[in-house]
Symmetry: C2
Subunit: 111 residues, 2 copies
């Protein structure tokens, strides 16, 4: 068990998961790998964050799960975005943009 750094996701985890799932059906373990890979190892989504998040998103009706066989021949839970989930993703993208713009305003203030 190697885990050097812990990178706090600061409320972005849900959005990142929704975004990755938006590319097509994918199982939990692969989601965390994908996020880590695309972010060039900045984000390390540990399983203790991942699975609770997935269940949260499913409970809210944003994700839908289905058991299927994975590449490796094992059973895995594949997640898909629901219509509500797609809307939620759009909302979160917009919010993120606004948030980072607002932060930028403050950080760039020179005064």
């Amino acid at each position: 068990m190697t885990q050097e750094k812990s990178e706090f996701l600061k409320g972005t985890l849900d959005m990142l998961i929704l975004k990755v799932v938006a590319f097509g059906p994918i199982h939990g373990y692969a989601i965390s790998q994908r996020i880590q890979q695309i972010s060039k190892d900045f984000f390390q989504v540990h399983q203790g964050s991942l699975y609770p998040a997935l269940h949260r998103l499913e409970d809210r009706g944003w994700l839908q799960a289905e058991w299927k066989e994975s590449d490796t021949g094992r059973e895995a839970k594949f997640y898909t975005l629901t219509r509500k989930g797609r809307k939620q993703l759009e909302t979160e993208l917009l919010n993120w943009e606004r948030l980072s713009d607002a932060v930028a305003l403050i950080l760039r203030t020179v005064e």
Copy 2:
């Protein structure tokens, strides 16, 4: 008491406070106004978030407090950045940059 929206600060509050205090001694109430003003009302730092945060930052040795008279002639606690606080701000700025870059990587992935 009017409070329409609640804007979640997603872990950026400490950084924003440090940044605002970096401009010079300022008291709590004014910090929240400043953040709201500069962010064009995106961030509304409620007092229940503000004061615990200020005490947290003071406890960690990043801020230093001193009672002085404010513009309005009343006593107020003026906060200043310590040397440690200035270092912390730099660290947080770097982290924020990395975080938003990493998020951008994922959001801009077209796959």
